[in-house]
């Protein structure tokens, strides 16, 4: 019944993804999903996880290596956030989200500080990652408990703010190539809002 309700909501929305899977709209169809959350912020051992991350970043050999690590850790923070929201551990979820924000901020700084010759590739990589983050979390949102999932709003806002800032610096041709991904993200976020309004969850 819940699935039917959800399908009804989806059908009444701007179904830009309804053509999905057919060359037009499958931009995220094979996106690599989040890793296992592993140690989460509600566990004491999380402290060691943090130390490990800092140590790895300390020894990053280049800005590109640092971006790789930051984006990898950002995905881990998303996985932790999802796990904590599902476990109704709101404080721990907020903590993981803050760390997510720190990592994307760090990538943003590297991209902004890069020489022109390297900035474009790094920017594209960052933009793709941000869109994937929002897509995955907005899909996962429908599988989260109603009472705790609205805490994700700042995470969406952070990712989209960085996305808007970075995509504004893309040349037009490059930016246009993202428009289906953008549309799918907009639709996906709209779905989360409609699901909240109507109290729908797969949880």
């Amino acid at each position: 019944m819940k699935a039917r309700l959800l399908a009804c909501v989806v059908c009444t929305l701007a179904i830009t993804a309804s053509h999905a899977g057919h060359g037009l709209m499958n931009s995220f169809a094979d996106v690599e999903w989040l890793p296992d959350p592993g140690v989460t912020p509600d566990q004491i051992a999380y402290l060691f996880d943090r130390i490990d991350e800092r140590a790895e970043l300390q020894f990053a050999t280049s800005p590109d290596a640092e971006i790789t690590l930051c984006l990898e850790f950002a995905r881990e923070k998303l996985a932790e956030t999802s796990a904590m929201i599902k476990a109704l551990e709101s404080e721990a979820a907020s903590f993981a989200m803050r760390l997510y924000g720190d990592y994307v901020e760090r990538v943003s700084a590297i991209v902004e500080g890069a020489p022109t010759s390297q900035a474009a590739e790094r920017r594209l990589r960052f933009i793709n990652a941000l869109l994937e983050h929002v897509y995955i979390m907005s899909v996962d949102y429908l599988d989260m408990p109603l009472e705790s999932r609205t805490r994700l709003s700042p995470l969406f806002a952070t990712a989209m703010r960085h996305y808007e800032e970075q995509s504004a610096r893309l040349p037009k041709g490059k930016k246009d190539a993202f428009f289906f991904k953008e549309e799918e993200i907009r639709w996906s976020l709209e779905m989360t809002q409609q699901a909240d309004k109507q109290g729908i969850t797969n949880w």
């Binding site: 399908a7 989806v10 060359g23 996106v31 140590a55 899909v139 996962d140 907009r186 797969n202």
Partner: protein, 335 residues
């Protein structure tokens, strides 16, 4: 700090080494069964083979089941997209064989199939090699793809593939593929124009196959970046145009796109391009050599035409402009 880092690295290496040994030990004896589609996500798609370790040329039953990852329950309300529940693309990773194949090509979908979310069909892997199967399905108006890697027969090495000529033959048919820009640029739109001839004469009797004049599958030669292509009809062009113009009228644009998408999805399929030329619009995500398999049905008979497309990285001064002989049609038909 250096000592701690060394110990950390050593421990990681040992764990990875032991895990690799265990994995190798497992792989040496059995194929994982059922196979689990990658990537993960909210849905779990499994594939079982019968027999589990088929030989080249042997008829093999491929059995899929789709369940929710969280609950393990079958997904009972799969959507029909382009006349099929799950589209499957099977390619040998040396790109010597290709199939676009479905349960419905062989069997009627029963209530039991839907209740179990289980579909199947027979297939013969033509020769020994590494195969990639991409399965595509739609649920709740979202599409998903999962892929499986299967080794058939004795292990072989995958070599880099050669570029194919811009003309591809199948029986009396010859298909020519042109691109604009002439050398496609990764991350930018490319217009592909397919022209089909039969015994030297232009083909004008293309029919719809699974709801479209053209189905295409594309992979980079390393098996990554799968894409499923269709013809670039005026309706699609109009939607893209509207998406491009989104900042002009953000209040109404979403609703208009939605309406057009619903029409595109729900209305009776319509033959737009009878031949001899068809446009396809695609964004190759990364540089490299891509293998493109284009499937058409001239005179109602399905034919596959393989091509390769070399995609270059963007560099300052690279021509990314897209030209198409169909461009002028878009404004006329899009209303």
């Amino acid at each position: 700090m250096r000592g701690a880092r060394f110990i950390m690295a050593l421990m990681r290496f040992l764990i990875a080494f032991i895990a690799a040994l265990l994995a190798l030990a497992g792989c040496a004896e059995h194929r994982e069964s059922p196979l689990e589609g990658r990537p993960g996500g909210p849905y779990r798609l499994t594939l079982s083979l019968d027999p589990p370790d088929p030989s080249p040329g042997q008829e093999t039953l491929l059995i899929w089941q789709l369940t929710y990852t969280r609950s393990g329950k079958p997904v009972q309300d799969l959507q029909v997209a382009h006349e099929r529940l799950i589209h499957n693309f099977i390619v040998n990773l040396d790109f010597s064989s290709f199939a676009h194949i479905h349960h419905e090509d062989f069997n009627t979908v029963t209530d039991g199939d839907l209740a179990e979310a289980s579909l199947r069909f027979p297939y013969r892997f033509p020769k020994a090699g590494h195969y990639r199967i991409v399965s595509e399905f739609a649920h709740q108006n979202r599409s998903w793809t999962k892929h499986f890697d299967i080794e058939i027969g004795a292990a072989t090495t995958i070599h880099k593939t050669a570029a194919l000529a811009g003309i591809s033959h199948s029986g009396a048919y010859a298909a020519t593929l042109q691109t604009s820009p002439e050398i496609p640029v990764a991350g930018y739109e490319t217009n592909l124009i397919l022209t089909l001839e039969r015994a030297g004469e232009p083909v004008t009797d293309l029919t719809l196959y699974l709801g479209s004049e053209l189905h295409g599958a594309v992979w980079r030669e390393d098996g990554r970046y799968f894409g499923h292509l269709h013809s670039y009809t005026p309706r699609v062009a109009a939607i893209i145009q509207m998406a491009h113009d989104r900042y002009a009228d953000p209040q109404t644009r979403g609703g208009q796109i939605a309406q057009m998408m619903v029409q595109l999805m729900c209305m009776e399929s319509e033959l737009v391009f009878p031949g001899p030329t068809l446009p396809i619009r695609y964004v190759f995500p990364e540089p490299g050599r891509y293998h493109v398999f284009l499937q058409l049905a001239p005179g109602g008979e399905t034919r596959v035409f393989p091509f390769t497309v070399d995609v270059t990285p963007f560099a300052d001064g690279t021509d990314t402009s897209v030209h198409s002989p169909f461009d002028r049609k878009v404004p006329e038909d899009s209303s």
